[in-house]
Symmetry: C2
Subunit: 253 residues, 2 copies
């Protein structure tokens, strides 16, 4: 049946995929995605046509997916994490004609942010903001404004794409902004390759976060004024006003 | 084996659970959660001890879970969505002793925010903030400051717990704040009971968002200056600077 699924594979380990995503792959005639994503679903895509494209060819993947849909195929576009969060869903939708929307299903997944948080404990127990530090397609002024706003309003902050080979100063700038608004001892969690080979989880603080090595596979979660360090974990209580200082009283519902 | 899993069931439909969450349930001796969550995993918890507690007894669930861990059981605490996002993970961790952390695994899930976004298209294609409108444990001034900051800094905004029987004015106030910073035609998606019986998806705009019925099972996603309405869907392009007005050009990587 002619259909286009845009699915999230989750953070990388097969066990973090949803049943719905597995089923969409099973039904597909053709699977389209970044070449690096096929390894973890190799058995599911055997005997299927696989169009594995390099990174940076997101628009070409979307174009191909819509072309194959129009040819009557069952198409599955694979994204890591959740396809709706800085990923393929918005790009694919921008290639469609409006009347084709009925033939498209976005299958949500466990995002890099949720995965990093789980490995750190519970840093996202309260309001949070997610900001990509990549200024390739977003002016740095916009990113800076968001970092300032989130820091001032005491959001827990998840930073994606903190650094790449070509972008080496943005993460340091982010620290500068955060240090203006947060206590230097505010807990910061740094997760690299969540649920993948080479997984590394580190807990540091706002004062020292720039000393940690980060890259495109790293998610950084910066606590807010309520976030507490707890051994190797970070916890942001669900209750705000009721949790005083470092008391570890439960926060209730 | 004595262990404590805190798992996310996803938005409600069994197909949105991850393999890791299913496996944690299979291994459990005792399963603890809100009574309403057991129905969707009934076959997985047959022949297991199930402690089903009413809503508002989150701390009691956490206390019981840690007590059972200390008795040497394999314990599974179930949360809807992702257990790290306004859910059981932070509460359970606050009941633990530090040396017990090694016996705990947080299993991430598809959160209500990711699920609502998938049903709406791709509203979270760029930086976003998540704010709960419940002021039961958070002073309204804090929530208001976050809404203002996120609105000013052009974050896409996901609003959780917009209204309950006892809290009837917060959602209207949120609209007032958003209307000060956003064009009234900015798309707003309203998703009730995502992936559950009674699922309802509606697209409106900032000017009219208060006319839509919302409750504790509703997630509201408010677009930013770049978000576009596209038939029954909402799309926030991944590229920021390069997407001009309502052009539907792909945004590239």
């Amino acid at each position: 049946v002619s259909h286009l699924f845009v699915i999230g594979l989750g953070p990388g380990d097969r066990s973090a995929m949803t049943g719905q995503a597995v089923e969409a792959l099973r039904q597909a005639d053709v699977v389209i995605g970044y070449s690096g994503y096929f390894a973890c679903v190799a058995d599911l895509v055997e005997n299927k046509e696989c169009l594995a494209l390099p990174l940076t060819q997101e628009t070409e993947r979307a174009r191909l997916a819509v072309e194959r849909l129009r040819q009557g195929q069952a198409v599955c576009v694979i994204s890591s994490g959740d396809p709706g969060i800085y990923a393929m869903a918005s790009i694919v939708l921008q290639y469609l004609a409006e009347e084709e929307l009925e033939a498209v299903t976005i299958v949500p997944g466990v995002s890099a942010v949720n995965a990093a948080a789980a490995l750190l404990g519970a840093p996202l127990g309260h309001d949070f903001a997610v900001v990509s530090l990549s200024d390739l397609l977003t002016p740095w002024e916009v990113i800076e404004r968001r970092l300032n706003a989130a820091a001032q309003a005491d959001f827990v902050l998840a930073l994606l794409n903190p650094r790449s080979h070509r972008r080496d100063w943005q993460y340091g700038q982010a620290q500068d902004i955060l240090a203006r608004h947060r206590d230097p001892e505010t807990p910061v969690g740094v997760v690299r390759n969540a649920y993948r080979p080479g997984q590394a989880v580190e807990v540091t603080d706002v004062g020292r976060m720039a000393e940690v090595t980060v890259d495109m596979f790293t998610t950084v979660i910066v606590g807010n004024s309520q976030t507490q360090r707890f051994g190797r974990a970070i916890v942001t209580p669900r209750g705000y006003a009721l949790v005083a200082g470092r008391s570890r009283l439960p926060s209730g519902t």
